[in-house]
């Protein structure tokens, strides 16, 4: 078929503005937390005050006796499967005799208004016996509390190189801190089923868990897409979904639950804290000969997505470099720390901080330019991935991203005494003469979409009517701009300007898969492209033409059938299920074709540091990223800048402070997030080498910006201070050494 596209407005390559932009700036966009229903009750949650405790007594009668309280439910009230979980259903819906993390839900309440619900929670008579929590990863490993051990053995185990560097690295627990907290509205349908609007990244996966616990038939739960205030992985696993449905079914009334910020912190999974040991060996010319690593990831009390996070950390432990001998062991550990699961970068963030710190260390040992060392070992198309041995068949511009970022101009030295441009900011703590500038680089590789033989697919239906085209999909928009890009793909593929995205509930269409793993542009985008092309073919057949535009069907440059005439006998429609190229299970050595696609990125950070006070200002972060094709340049830039900001946050400020499993800073006052004054300038080079299976060659773009930006910032701080800095976030005392 031919793609004309030229006469289509709002197609691929244009910075089309978001269809939900105006409702969002006027306050009219409905988020899950804004929804209401006639006769609605409010839910609230009683949580464990301990990281580990035995439930001694739980008596709900006093709470139930409060006027306006309609239900108080505990684990005994779960109608169906008592546990849930995406990979392993090992988490009780409510505490089942022992609380295993701080803030674990133990009972839920529905009442006339939020105040009454909160009072009812306080009136529940509950007694706990605090138990000693398991909070140390090494101890968990010794005790065999392992969710997954993923090994990689490749090449000659006895090989060695003359130059050796070793390092030990740590990552603190980062919170996604999406601005919208967990929220849901469940409306009973009067026939034993329920409609649910909830903050989610993957409605069909949630649905499959929810109906089992409610003991209803699958179709009796319809999960609807809902307005979502950011996700970043926090909504990959469920939060209040089953709770709000249980309350609605028990009371026969719509029930709404919204977590406050303090509840949200323990109410979702976080980025896995990591402890990692790496050993790199190389020849004197810098050629890597062997990489060995041991990676521990703290998975919290329940499985969540930990097995897949471990896999990513292990398979990307070497980074985008060639090396023939690799020995890696990664472990996901069960502890009583807060739950860990998906966060942007998904295991690769942790590994990348270690492998990039190692590359700098090795370069220093070899007295070699750090970028030269990386280029000497740069992984390219046709090479085997160092860990899994998978031959890279897709374009992989590793050398290019390095060269392009290195060629970007550096910002001029800052002479300004304006406190807004100094480390420490308007606190007026630093003067310019105390400030040292540093520059650092880092490079990363990330897989796109799901791996390891997962049956990863996305469904979409494209319907053409006289009014234009509709794209039906269950893919979740979390803010990233997928709705814009899907419409652009449909416009270009069809040749029709008027395209509307119709969010579909779980009963209306099959799964689009998760909005994660940088996958929706490629997966649901791929489905939309396929369906739109099929509809275009149908239109050309029906109109016996050679081109389709917003006016109708054309033949040899003449309009032969208007859109009205074309659709007179009914709409044209095509439904498709798109799959990416199949991947394999790893063998016992972690070998195989485990991944569907890859993307590389390089970052350069420029920092100003006051070494005496340990204060850092990240001045600029530049990047070159392998994106396949920019479907929407404005959106691409937005994803890259937002991703970099989260990477910078992890580098210098964001950490949940834990004390025996209890989060000590579960508020926006104490969990520091980057503000406008912390935002670096960002310059971007896009490398467009088409993915063989992404729509029009596009690759996923969401995660790479977050991955190598963190080690680049830390490298820059090392460059400014000479400190080792083996842990993120870098704290002032790590810089001052006090």
């Amino acid at each position: 078929m031919t793609v004309t596209g030229t006469r289509t407005r709002g197609g691929i390559g244009e910075s089309v503005v978001r269809p939900d932009g105006v409702p969002k700036v006027t306050g009219n966009f409905a988020y899950a937390s804004d929804l209401t229903a006639e006769g609605m009750l409010w839910g609230a949650t009683l949580r464990s005050p301990f990281a580990r405790a035995r439930l001694v007594r739980l008596d709900t009668s006093a709470a139930l006796a409060i006027p306006g309280v309609h239900a108080v439910l505990t684990q005994e009230d779960v109608p169906g499967r008592p546990t849930f979980g995406q990979i392993v259903a090992d988490q009780p819906v409510l505490v089942d005799g022992e609380a295993r993390f701080w803030g674990e839900p133990a009972a839920i309440v529905a009442a006339d208004d939020p105040d009454t619900a909160r009072r009812a929670v306080a009136a529940i008579d509950i007694e706990w016996e605090e138990l000693d929590p398991l909070v140390d990863m090494e101890e968990a490993l010794e005790l065999g509390e392992v969710f997954r051990h993923a090994p990689v053995r490749r090449g000659d185990p006895d090989s060695s190189g003359p130059v050796v560097v070793e390092g030990f690295y740590e990552i603190g627990m980062q919170d996604q801190a999406p601005l919208g907290t967990e929220a849901g509205l469940a409306v009973p349908d009067g026939e034993g089923g329920v409609d649910l609007w909830v903050t989610s990244q993957w409605t069909h996966e949630d649905h499959d868990q929810i109906w089992r616990s409610l003991d209803v038939k699958p179709g009796q739960v319809r999960q609807h897409p809902s307005g979502i205030g950011g996700a970043f992985g926090a909504r990959e696993d469920m939060s209040l979904h089953i709770h709000v449905c249980m309350l609605a079914l028990r009371t026969g009334r719509p029930v709404k639950m919204v977590y406050n910020r303090a509840e949200s912190f323990p109410g979702h999974v976080h980025r896995h804290p990591a402890r990692m040991w790496f050993r790199h060996e190389a020849r004197a010319d810098g050629t890597l000969t062997r990489v060995q690593a041991r990676i521990l990831l703290d998975g919290g009390a329940y499985t969540d997505t930990t097995p897949a996070v471990v896999a990513n950390a292990v398979y990307f432990a070497v980074g985008p470099y060639r090396v023939d001998n690799v020995h890696v062991d990664g472990y996901g550990l069960r502890t009583n720390n807060p739950p860990a699961g998906a966060m942007r970068g998904f295991g690769v963030v942790q590994a990348c901080f270690a492998h990039e710190s190692q590359m700098d260390r090795l370069a220093a040992e070899l007295a070699m330019d750090p970028l030269e060392l990386r280029k000497r070992n740069a992984l390219a198309t046709g090479d085997p991935l160092a860990t899994t041995g998978q031959i890279i068949e897709t374009p992989l511009p590793t050398t290019d991203v390095i060269d392009r970022v290195a060629a970007m101009p550096l910002p001029a030295p800052d002479e300004s005494e304006d406190p807004r441009r100094l480390p420490g900011g308007t606190g007026l703590t630093t003067s310019r003469s105390d400030v040292v500038r540093g520059v650092g680089y880092a490079v990363s590789i990330k897989n796109i979409a799901f791996s390891e033989a997962f049956d990863d697919y996305a469904e979409a239906r494209v319907v053409l009517t006289a009014a234009g085209a509709e794209v039906h999909t269950a893919a979740v928009e979390v803010g990233q701009g997928m709705v814009t890009v899907l419409a652009q793909i449909a416009r270009t593929a069809l040749g029709v300007d008027r395209v509307a995205i119709v969010p579909a509930d779980t009963g209306a269409i099959g799964s689009a898969g998760s909005t994660s793993a940088s996958r929706q542009t490629q997966m649901t985008g791929g489905a939309v492209l396929e369906a739109a092309r099929a509809v275009r073919e149908l239109a050309l057949q029906r109109g016996d033409g050679d081109d389709l535009t917003s006016e109708g069907v054309w033949r040899s440059g003449e309009l032969v059938m208007t859109l009205d005439e074309l659709c007179e006998s009914g709409p044209l429609s095509h439904h498709t299920r798109f799959r990416h190229p199949p991947t394999e299970e790893p063998d016992e050595n972690g070998q195989g074709t485990l991944h569907a696609d890859f993307a590389v990125a390089a970052h350069r950070a420029v920092v100003d540091v006051d070494p005496e006070l340990g204060l850092v200002r990240v001045v600029q972060v530049d990047t070159a990223q392998d994106i396949g094709l920019a479907l929407n340049p404005q959106s691409v830039r937005g994803q890259i800048e937002g991703g970099i900001m989260q990477g910078v946050g992890l580098a210098v400020m964001e950490e949940l402070v834990l004390d025996r499993g209890v989060i000590r800073n579960a508020s926006f006052t104490d969990y520091l997030l980057p503000t406008f004054l912390d935002a670096p300038d960002v310059e971007i080079e896009l490398i467009e080498e088409p993915s063989p299976w992404g729509p029009f060659g596009a690759k996923g773009i969401g995660e790479p910006p977050t991955i190598s930006s963190t080690p680049a910032v830390v490298a820059a701080i090392r460059n400014a201070t000479g400190r080792e800095l083996n842990r993120v976030p870098v704290r002032p005392q790590d810089i001052t050494g006090t």
Partner: protein, 152 residues
Amino acid sequence: MSDVDFTLNGETRSVSVGTTQSLLSLLRDELELPGSKNACEQGECGSCTVLMDGAAVCACLVLAADADGSDITTVEGMASGDVLHAVQDALVAGGGVQCGFCTPGFVVAAAHLFESEPSPDRDQIREALSGNICRCTGYGAILRSLEDLAQR
């Protein structure tokens, strides 16, 4: 409970409010104005920013009872009918909106800035909006949107 008379987005309103109720809760839960967002209830994120007698305040920190006699404008009151406020228009056009949860707060805070300083420079924009957290954009597109507006 106490009775509160105030002007809300240009209309006079009389409501009775709880003694500990926040202005944010009054707006969202009772007056059907959910545009102002609740992301922290601690005055840390700016998602709930409204104009109160011309000052930008966090509605989560203001007692509803203290709104008595005041003139409040929320994000819902920024546009004139179908005509967007210039700040709203700039944010949509410039890609300053992603998930949008921070956006109502940015709209109100930026409108307030432009009222007192019609052509703010970069650092003025950054400082004036440093009480508004955005988790999605990294602030770049918000800055560019508002710089464009400042130069118009």
